[in-house]
Amino acid sequence: MARMTFMGGIHTYEGKELSKDKPTTVLLPKGDLVFPLSQHIGAPAKPLVAKGDPVLVGQMIAEAYGMISSNIISSVSGTVKAIERRLTAAGKMEESIVITNDNEYKKIEGYGQNRDYMNMSKANIRDAVKEAGIVGLGGAGFPTHVKLTPKDESKIDYVIVNGAECEPYLTSDYRLMMEEPEAIVEGLKIILRLFDKAKGIIGIEDNKPDAIERFRALTAVESNIEVQALKTKYPQGGERQLVYVTTGRKLNSKKLPADVGCIVNNVATVAAIYMAVAKSTPLTHRIVTISGDAVEEPQNFNVPFGISFTEILEAAGGFKVQPKKIVFGGPMMGKAMYTYEVPVTKTANSLLGFVKDEAAVEESPCILCGRCYFKCPLNLLPMKLQLMGLNNDEENFKKLDGMECCGCGCCSFVCPANRSLTQTIVQTKNKILAKKHELQELHKDHAANA
């Protein structure tokens, strides 16, 4: 069968060879650990500890607050040093719990206990996922227990595991797939237990043939799990693209995958679900890629949450050249930061250092070549949307579906005139969303006053 693909998309320099073949190194923290209360989509968690309190490995130090939120679990044992505002990789100051490590790694009771996960009730599985503080580890950080609780679970036809890892340079998912494929397959089986008629799909880009082979071998006996080789093209791992390519169903910005009968989870999230449900191990670690042409020894590290990126970078030999730009996340959608003295959070999948800043180029006039349109995976007209954004023409911006933009960056990447297409469109979109939010708040106030 010819592989289906989505429209648009780009081929970039992959940069994965820098770090993909080195085994993941387990790294223990040296300094204090910092746990921001907001490292997921939704409301910040509420702290359960106070300054001076002792904590253990696996202990919940902050609790989900409200419907969409997530628990935060300590990755070390020690004492709470402070609860204060600290800088995060997103460039914001966030209220954080700072823990001094006693280096004893005393665990809470029941940590790591095996559970008979194939006979657990659905409610127990969901509870275990919620308890463990699991959020989408691919980068968005949507609380997983919310995802696993759709309005109508009988309507779910596919559980899709995202192993595309389409962002250049990142190899943390690849390393996980090579080193712990069983955890991913078992994790998928656990999710499938929640949805009676669902079929499992593991989607992996075909630039990782060894991973595809490995998963095919592991799932050969599973009748309802299929491994799909996806075309290597950015943004193959985008939710809308992945759902379309694996199932033929189309999403837009207003629809969740569950609306078209799909549940999508990143491989690391699925492995975390397995650890939480089968091994009673909450989410306290993740794999982080340290890469880029400025890094001495690009590789992956398995690190506890809260550890500073400075320590991880040191373990990778530091920078061999002073980088011009450092990026948290992939080069297409990641955030550039002015410092790497920030803690690892649930959604922090990498630190990249680049000798040259390719994006530091001057804009020139649009020549209407249409490359941005041809490469847009959502079939938008970025060149027009950018002009509308620059002119504050929000009405037409919305009419031309600017609000659908997923911010993948393809348009800016291909623009021969170096125009800041994605940048302006995303900014305009966020501005409109913020206004809408403000308006809603205002209406609420009025309603309350009336």
Binding site: P323, N396, E404
Partner: protein, 331 residues
């Protein structure tokens, strides 16, 4: 200060293809046709090319200086305009006329409307049409053979230039008069016409390079040529006469226009559907001008008319957003 990291919004990587590399590709693609023009018409063709390119570059530079606009001299778009203009001119054109064409293309059509990317019609074609309307006699006298290169002093009193070349009817003129043409000669290009339009072979080599470099896509050229061929088949009055059809396709400015002028990014529609509509429209218009109209050539007029319709075509062929229904009425 240099130790600080750059901070900017994503994405942080850029494709190596830039505006100037695209323009350079177009120039490279036009080299075979230019060389053939020089080979066919003699060194004077080279001088015409130099005059128009220089006049375009200088006009843009002076305009930017006077208007205090930061000019981008390395985007080569002015060179492309000058080169395309020269290829659209007869070799015997007085140099001052060629230079005037360059000034018109850059100043009136491009810069006054906002510069690169803002022109509503192809500058080179607009200039050609301007010259054609202003100096119909000069623009329509084509030569078949080489012109001996005049001495330096002759450049200055250009109007008095003695042309040694044999002037003759272009293939399209012959076809209009009901004669047959030598197709091989047509394809190779040893015929009368403007400097760059005669050799279909050289133009197709250049076009193949542009396809290979993914600078242009084949939608417009093919829908254009195909729709024109169908029009000629139906209304040409010759039925299915290969000599007539191929003569019409290879004989005039159609190949040059279809691959290099109609595909101009700025003045063609964005979506594939819009590009098909555009190609078919200019194909039919070319047919009307050439076959029904009184003239023998109509590519320039057809493409320029097509250029004017581009905003409307773009609006009618708005793409459908992934996962959503089509939107209408966007101003």
């Amino acid at each position: 200060m240099s130790d600080l990291y750059n901070v900017s919004a994503a994405p942080h990587v850029r494709s190596p293809i830039k505006t100037n590399s695209i323009m350079q590709d177009v120039i490279i693609a036009l080299i075979p046709a230019s060389l053939f023009g020089i080979f066919n018409f003699g060194l004077r063709a080279l001088l015409v090319i130099l005059v128009t390119v220089l006049s375009c570059v200088v006009t843009e530079y002076v305009y930017c200086k006077l208007m205090k606009i930061k000019s981008n001299p390395w985007d080569y778009s002015d060179v492309v305009t000058g080169l395309l203009l020269a290829l659209n001119l007869p070799v015997g054109i007085p140099f001052w006329m060629a230079a005037l064409g360059g000034v018109f293309a850059i100043l009136i059509v491009k810069m006054l409307f906002g510069g690169l990317g803002q022109n509503f019609m192809n500058p080179a074609l607009a200039a050609r049409v301007f010259l054609f309307i202003s100096f119909p006699g000069r623009m329509a006298s084509f030569l078949v053979d080489k012109v001996s290169t005049p001495a330096v002093t002759d450049f200055l009193r250009d109007g008095a230039l003695v042309l040694d070349g044999v002037s003759g009817a272009t293939p399209l003129g012959q076809l209009k008069a009901g004669e047959t043409v030598d197709l091989l000669k047509l394809f190779v290009g040893h015929i009368g016409g403007t400097i760059g339009e005669t050799s279909a072979l050289a133009l197709l080599i250049g076009a193949a390079y542009l396809f290979y470099r993914k600078v242009i896509n084949p939608i417009i050229p093919f829908s254009y040529i195909l729709s024109f061929a169908v029009f000629a088949l139906i209304f040409g009055g010759h039925g299915f006469d290969m000599n007539y059809l191929l003569g019409q396709i290879l004989g005039g400015g159609l190949i040059l226009g279809a691959f290099f002028m109609a595909t101009d990014y700025v003045t063609c529609p964005i979506t594939p559907k819009g590009q098909i509509i555009f190609g078919v429209f200019i194909g039919i218009m070319t047919g009307i001008f050439r076959i029904i109209g009184s003239g023998v050539e109509g590519v320039s007029f057809a493409i320029i008319l097509g250029n004017l319709l581009v905003p409307i075509i773009d609006n009618l062929t708005r793409p459908k957003t992934f996962g959503k229904e089509r939107v209408k009425d966007v101003k």
